[in-house]
């Protein structure tokens, strides 16, 4: 690993000041943990608030008359139905219905704002620029100059509200463009921990200032990618490269909710034939939650058996600090996907019993609009 060639976050100096353990993550030097350790960071996020640097994630703005059509040409989402100030979870698909990336799409009014995975940003941009050739009025802007943090946890709202007016009016999956000291700030009430929280994108200088201010607040713990992974795993959320890939469809990944029914009716999206067939007849493989018996974590790529027959593999696995035991996700042949059934994972010569369970492992606590 040549650390000099890694991209660095705009708040790199705060990583170093806070004794981060840095790793190469998708070509970026990013903190995997700080001195208090992954379990403490995880628990702090669930009980108070955790601050995560997510500046490695790709941010893209698409403007122009044809931007809605462009996005509908590469996703299975009814883009028109995303109201201004709302965020939608979606996928960029390939022609076979496989997932090129999972992403957040926000209607900013004048443009669509996309947040994509660091490891897939280049693939996504290639795909978007290619698709744009079929349209006239399109402008695509990779927002290189922005950094981004996530402030997550039940106290995140208390921490953030003194900085931005009316922020408490946002509900889960709402978005607002605002300013702080006359600098533009994008705030979404979203996250990837299962908790209430915010993602905040702005210029590098302001991000540094805001992050330092948030970290000075005793309710906030600085967290790394290690805790981000244990939190998303407990929340039952998929990770690109583990649960999601170009050979896995949204239906196989148990993410059918993000395929718009209006697009299914029109059959007009990439991979529609395969995906609609899977919706109607069930997919060959399914993403499942797995609870290993005992204390041993059952990690990625461990093979899964039922009565001696190999039926799938673990896609993510580790220890769930809020549960206090190991948890895993796997991809198994759908006919074996029965909640509470037992499977077996092979580690060396040992077979560890696994119980199939429903997602999430830890209940989501998003700030949803109350239904009247």
């Amino acid at each position: 690993m040549n650390i000099n060639k890694l991209k660095s976050s705009p708040i790199e100096e705060l990583h170093i000041k806070n004794n981060a353990r840095l790793v190469d993550f998708a070509g970026w030097s990013m903190p995997v943990q700080f001195s208090s350790g992954i379990i403490n960071e995880h628990i702090s996020t669930r009980t108070s608030s955790g601050l995560f640097d997510i500046s490695h994630m790709g941010q893209i703005a698409i403007t122009g008359m044809d931007s809605c059509k462009l996005l509908e040409s590469i996703t299975p989402t009814d883009i028109k139905s995303i109201q201004p100030g709302r965020v939608r979870y979606s996928f960029i698909l390939n022609e076979k219905g496989g997932i090129i990336d999972d992403l957040m799409i926000t209607n900013e009014g004048e443009s669509y704002y996309l947040v994509v995975n660091a490891s897939r940003t280049k693939n996504d941009l290639d795909e978007i620029f290619n698709a744009a050739k079929s349209f006239k009025d399109i402008s695509i802007n990779h927002l290189h100059s922005k950094g981004m943090i996530a402030l997550q946890g039940p106290k995140a709202i208390e921490v953030i509200k003194s900085y931005f007016d009316d922020i408490n009016k946002l509900n889960f999956m709402d978005y607002k463009k605002t300013t702080y000291k006359d600098v533009e700030v994008r705030i979404s009430r979203v996250g990837y921990t299962g908790e209430d929280g915010f993602e905040i994108s702005t210029s590098k200088d302001l991000l540094l200032e805001l992050t330092q201010n948030f970290l000075n607040d005793k309710r906030v713990s600085f967290c790394g990618l290690g805790a981000r992974d244990t939190l998303r795993l407990e929340a039952g959320l998929p990770l690109y490269g583990n649960e999601l890939s170009e050979s896995i469809t949204p239906i196989q990944a148990d993410l059918g909710f993000a395929v718009s029914s209006s697009r299914v009716n029109k059959k007009d999206f990439r991979g529609a034939k395969k995906i609609i067939n899977e919706i109607n007849n069930g997919p060959e493989f399914s993403r499942v939650g797995l609870l290993p018996e005992g204390k041993r974590p059952v990690r990625k790529d461990t093979l899964i058996y039922k009565n001696g027959e190999k039926i799938g593999k673990v896609t993510s696995g580790g220890y769930g600090p809020s549960i206090g035991s190991p948890i895993s996700m796997g991809s198994i042949k759908s006919q074996f996907n029965k909640t509470n059934d037992h499977l077996e994972a092979q580690i060396g010569n040992n077979f560890i019993p696994l119980k199939i369970t429903s997602f999430p492992f830890v209940p989501h606590r998003y700030h949803r609009k109350r239904k009247v």
């Binding site: 350790g37 041993r296 974590p297 220890y319």
Partner: protein, 117 residues
């Protein structure tokens, strides 16, 4: 006196206690699982003999020398997280079968040099 391996195990040559170094525990982070060898198990030098897993990763623990297991730290196997609190703890005890093998291990200073590389 403790002797060390490049793979971060130590053996106490007076009482046969075997453990992993504080440096290794620091690198592993929060420990959540330990699998220790059963009493009576015989093993040869450098063979994988135990498993330690942290939140981040799984690692094999290798036998620093050849021998036989005489006792294991069952409390630690039950509560592996205690190893983070008490990183000098022993994991299991062994009877060394070939004392000459101890000469090939590192002393504390040599181990320190190895990890500072």
């Amino acid at each position: 006196m403790k002797k060390y391996t490049k793979t971060h195990e130590w053996v106490n040559i007076e009482n046969g206690e075997v453990g992993i170094t504080e440096n290794a525990i620091e690198l592993l982070g929060d420990i959540v699982f330990l699998e220790l060898p059963d009493v009576g198990k015989e093993f040869s030098k450098d063979s994988p003999i135990a498993v330690v897993e942290s939140v981040k990763a799984a690692s094999d623990i290798y036998a620093p020398v050849s021998g036989k297991v005489t006792e294991k730290n069952e409390d630690l196997e039950t509560s592996p997280e205690d190893l983070n609190e008490n990183p000098k703890s022993w994991l299991f005890k062994i009877e060394v079968s070939n004392k000459d093998e101890l000469n090939s291990l590192l002393d504390e200073q040599e181990y320190q040099k190895e990890i500072d590389k």
